[in-house]
Symmetry: C2
Subunit: 129 residues, 2 copies
């Protein structure tokens, strides 16, 4: 995760990401942002979800398409805009929840369930809710 | 599907949909658009995909979050903006491909595969490509 250098949530941990450029696919934006912020080449393997609650960013209404990705190559190194990188242990998610920016703790909880169910989590959850 | 009343792709068939309002989740936009265009109450059960190729709409770069939904209630009836509604037989998809607007024939092909694999299609496809 990336330590945020500016408000909102300055100093908290956030998943790498950013805005899609005009003329760019969301998959390419995912590859570009992780390369810029973490110096890692990644490939999307699934869509974890699309997060669009209007309250999720205090600045304005944004939506995030969240990918699960595989690291293809690279040694992680924070980009110029990132304060630092940190691997987190998902077993400690509840303990560090308050240090996490935006709704990214929720996204990580969803990822834990995605991982446990080998990617079929979403359809199951939605059908039963 | 909805028969388009205006350009681009005037007269062709399109999946119901539209733009997300500020302050609205993508799930609520899905429910609202299908209600407005088809008079059907639907519930999203999965995300089929996020389609963001910059060439998919000749007007400007748009992205569509495509949901698979269940019809909860209602009798289908075209809304004021829609030219008419038509159920299509997916077995005939190749034959009517030229009558379909935007990249919606591709979306329907993806849905056929989603349905055959009970929703695990995407993660499988992405891992093997």
């Amino acid at each position: 995760m990336v330590s945020r250098q500016k408000e909102p949530y300055k100093g908290r941990l956030a998943l790498p990401g950013g805005f899609v450029d005009e003329g760019e696919t969301v998959e390419d934006a995912f590859r570009r942002e992780v390369l810029e912020e973490c110096a890692l080449e990644v490939e999307p393997i699934d869509i974890l979800g699309v997060y669009s609650d209007p309250r999720r960013d205090p600045r304005k209404h944004t939506l995030s398409v969240v990918f699960v990705g595989l690291i293809l190559s690279g040694d992680e190194k924070a980009g110029d805009d990132a304060g630092g990188l940190e691997w987190i242990d998902l077993a400690n998610l509840e303990k560090i929840r308050d240090q996490i920016a935006f709704d990214h703790a929720q996204i990580l909880s969803d990822y834990v369930q995605w991982k446990a169910s080998a990617g079929t989590y979403w359809s199951t959850r939605r059908r039963s809710s």
